[in-house]
Amino acid sequence: MSETCAVKKVTENTPEEVARVEEWINSEDYREKNFAREAVVINPVHACQPLGAQLVAHGFEGTLPYVHGSQGCASYYRSALTRHFREPAAAVSSAMTEDGAVFGGQNNLHEGLENALKLYAPKMIAIFTSCMPEIIGDDLNAFITNARNAGIVARDYPLPYANTPSFNGTHIHGYDAMLKSVLSCLSADKKVEGKDNGKLNLIPGFDCNTGNYREYKRICQEMGIEVTVLADISESFDSPLDGTYRPYPGGTPLDEAADALNAHATLSLQKHATTETIKWFKEQTDAPVEVMPSPIGIANTDAFLMNLAERFGKPVAPTLKAERGRAVDAMTDAHQYLHNKKFALWGDPDFLAGMIAFLLEMGARPYHVVCSRGSKKVGKYLQALLDKSPYGQGCKLWMNKDLWHLRSLVMTDPVDALIGCTHGKFITRDAGIPLIRVGFPILDRVNLHRVPYIGYQGAINLLTAIANSFLDEVDRNCEDKHFEMMR
């Protein structure tokens, strides 16, 4: 370039130019051009597969997540999880470098396993890949067999692994691949024909809200159902501060996970994040294996509880029925603050499905729904939810779009609030509307990942956050003469 371009003077954008562009990027014209782009993705809603895989790894007892790839990849996943949870996220890597591209990653993997076992004494190491080994074609299965043969890892030591290339799918697919691998590894020879341990396998899916996990467990307890929450991160990412650091503070007990194929029933609450895992379950067991919508909002929670009730032959607990009544009470009392309000939301398909359902129940409008990566089938599934309610009429689903698209949508066809992760905060600033922080990642507020949004209590929590956010806005933006004691 220094050859091709003459030496020019330094230029500065004039205030007029800046003002013009400031206005232009809010225009219909800009929106059209913005939606015409085919190649560049700007402010995406999705991360890559290994993040989901690592989340799964943290969800099992004594398990060390192991990134087969460069150490930089591991640092990114760890940081991402730690920033959201404000908790440690112990993980190691093969620390592959350029010579890995030439010789493959087997040596690094073997050395890494040896060190990790000695240093951190994990009960299981869950291996997943980042880009490099996927491109150079590392054969993890062979490497692991070789490691066992070489005595680096004991023959019966659990070493699940998943291929999670970042250039394929998103974090939810890495979640799926790793979960399936962990379960098939642990339960390999543990299936006992005819055995029914009476328990429920519950799969929350890629869910970074520790409060949700605790709610699942509490609900099952109220129902008197023994549950194995698979990939249970609730303690892993919400552990006590008591003066002792523990690299593995929680997770699904390995023996429980190993018994998963002997469960009375299996229920996944994120259809799209568990496709492969569910397929595997169905192949492996004759016990009921089902997928239901995430229990966000009243009707989804009703369905969830009724399914449990039916599968386990127990009535819905009276305490939960009372909770339902209190949630409906709260929703009724506050309906006037949400009714017909327009929302923009984004996230994974299952999260969106749940939030759409909740908003429609409130008479609110999920007006712009941005799903970053999803097939036509996913699109149809979400569209059907909007079509079901009069409050979904005129609402638009935007498949495979990003937050820069959403910015254009919000500036040209406004909404009252955004619901999603911290990454949307720049839109809220430009649009002057509140952001209800739900989902992953939340990088700029504390403890919100501890506040459940599933179940009846979750519905109250969502409602509280949204309604009070609007009331805050009213009090803040109204003239003196409309500043009132009651709202």
């Binding site: 220094s2 560049v40 112990a90 190691v92 990790a116 490099m132 491109i135 150079i136 970042s166 008591d242």
Partner: protein
């Protein structure tokens, strides 16, 4: 820099070369043999002035240990390019790398995101399987066109390669060259694939090389160069650091023509060859270009340290010594003006911090540069280390530390834990991944990459913030709650 402060420091109570060496031995025992041998050269008891005391650095990370290191891409995106405000930085490859590095480095910029600045945005080519199979070059050309259309005020595009790009043999340099001509806009390729090198450090070097090859000398300032023209190099404006630094330099009478790269403007960077002196704060990440400018344009450069009043004063005098009497007088005036204010801060916080011990593990310049600021507050640094330093960093570190203290390289988390525990430190200053590990153990912690969302820490503006934060971290009454009484 002024060498007054390089006298060997007073040893710390209870910390001798021997005790530290014993600690190192105990630490190494944690490892299997091979890893032990690899790690051993990376830690030493400090013995400033003695030939042969040296910590090995810039080597491959040991697989399977919990390293804090990032990769070359991280060094290129997060450090060098990311802070340049008026370019769009394309994370070229799969979505993840750009996603994880999005908005997480606090390199503040002045402007309106998406209009005239873009650094809080995440541009990615979001490679899919087909891009890996068929190559991403065509997509990249389209990306550049789309950016040109949607962001007319962007002054350039950087293309930061992620791992697959290099592995599949794409030629981003050719695409960049073509796009540059087609769009009449700088499109700068940076082959910073994460697998290159051993840490983010190579990413800095590669980025410096890209600037050398594609940026420097391509612009000239609109007005005449002056005798006090300088560039501020290696200040990334974390939490407003560069603004705090710039303020003092301007008060000194210097004209800051470009900042590399905090709140950076690419055309100013491109014209830096016109300045009279390059002032380098973060030597590690930017020394390459300073040396290039010295060789190619004869611009001298010097290091300085704007952490804490002692180091600021020394640096101001050293910088002023490169200029005329006016500047030198200004330096004394500034020091005189700020000394009482800084003393008030010291008087407020030092009684609460005197004798507290800290362990540092950061990147770039901070493991050595911040020591003076801690010492101004009465803290003692029992150990310090770098994520991705080179030999020249360690050479600059030994004399800043007391004899017998611990110096280390690319520490793994388990090592840090052991050291913090055995030294009974009152504070660990490190990164986000380490933060909660130590807090769980009941040890106060500050993030020393991001200033824990506080800052600035540079300059006279920064020291009161730093002092307040260190005090708050160590003396928060929440630490009294850690142990349940039952």
């Amino acid at each position: 820099m002024d060498k007054d402060h390089t006298a060997v420091k007073v040893p710390l109570d209870g910390i001798q070369k021997q005790t530290t060496e014993e600690l190192i031995d105990r630490t190494l025992e944690l490892y299997p043999e091979k890893a032990r041998n690899k790690r051993a050269p990376h830690m030493a008891a400090n013995d400033p002035g003695v030939q042969g005391c040296s910590v090995k650095s810039n080597r491959k990370t040991v697989p399977g240990v919990m390293s804090a290191r990032g990769c070359a891409y991280a060094g290129a995106k997060g450090v060098v390019w990311g802070p340049i405000r008026d370019m769009t930085h394309v994370s070229h490859g799969p979505v993840g790398c750009g996603y994880y590095s999005w908005g997480t480095r606090r390199n503040l910029v002045d402007g309106h995101q998406g209009v005239d600045v873009f650094s809080a945005m995440q541009f990615t080519s979001d490679f899919q399987e087909k891009d890996v199979v068929y190559g991403g070059d065509k997509k990249l050309a389209v990306i550049c066109r789309e950016i040109r259309e949607l962001f007319p005020l962007a002054k350039g595009i950087s293309v930061l390669s992620e791992c697959p790009v290099g592995l599949i043999g794409d030629d981003i340099n050719a695409v960049a060259k073509k796009s540059c001509q087609e769009l009449n806009l700088p499109v700068i390729p940076c082959n910073c694939e994460g697998f290159r090198g051993v840490s983010q450090s190579l990413g800095h070097h590669i980025s410096n090389d890209s600037i050398r090859d594609f940026v420097i000398g391509t612009r000239e300032f609109d007005d005449e160069p002056g005798p006090y023209d300088i560039a501020l190099i290696g200040d990334y404006n974390i939490g407003g650091d560069a603004w705090a630094s710039r303020k003092i330099l301007e008060e000194l009478g210097l004209r800051v023509r470009a900042i590399w790269t905090g709140d950076g403007q690419i055309e100013h960077i491109a014209a830096t060859h016109q300045v009279k002196l390059n002032l380098i704060h973060c030597y590690r990440s930017m020394n390459y270009m300073a040396k290039v400018m010295e060789e190619r344009y004869g611009i001298p450069w010097m290091e300085f340290n704007f952490f804490g009043p002692t180091k600021i004063a020394a640096s101001l005098r050293a910088i002023a010594a490169r200029f005329d009497r006016t500047i030198q007088d200004n330096a004394e005036k500034i020091i005189e003006k700020y000394t009482p204010m800084m003393q008030a801060i010291v008087d407020e916080y030092r009684p609460r911090l005197e004798g507290k011990r800290a362990l540092l593990f950061v990147g770039g310049l901070r493991p050595r540069h911040t020591i003076g600021a801690y010492e101004d507050l009465g803290l003692e640094i029992v150990g310090t280390g770098y994520e991705f330093a080179h030999n020249d960093d360690y050479e600059r570190t030994y004399e800043e530390m007391a004899r017998g203290t611990l110096i280390f390289d690319d520490a793994s988390e388990i090592e840090l834990e052991k050291w913090a525990r055995e030294y009974k430190v009152d504070l660990v200053g490190s990164g986000i991944k380490e933060k909660y590990v130590f807090q769980k153990a009941g040890i106060p912690f500050r993030q020393m990459h991001s200033w824990d969302y506080s800052g600035p820490y540079h300059g006279y503006e920064g020291f009161p913030v730093f002092a307040r934060d260190i005090d708050m971290a160590i003396n928060s009454p929440t630490w009294g709650l850690v142990k349940a009484p039952f």
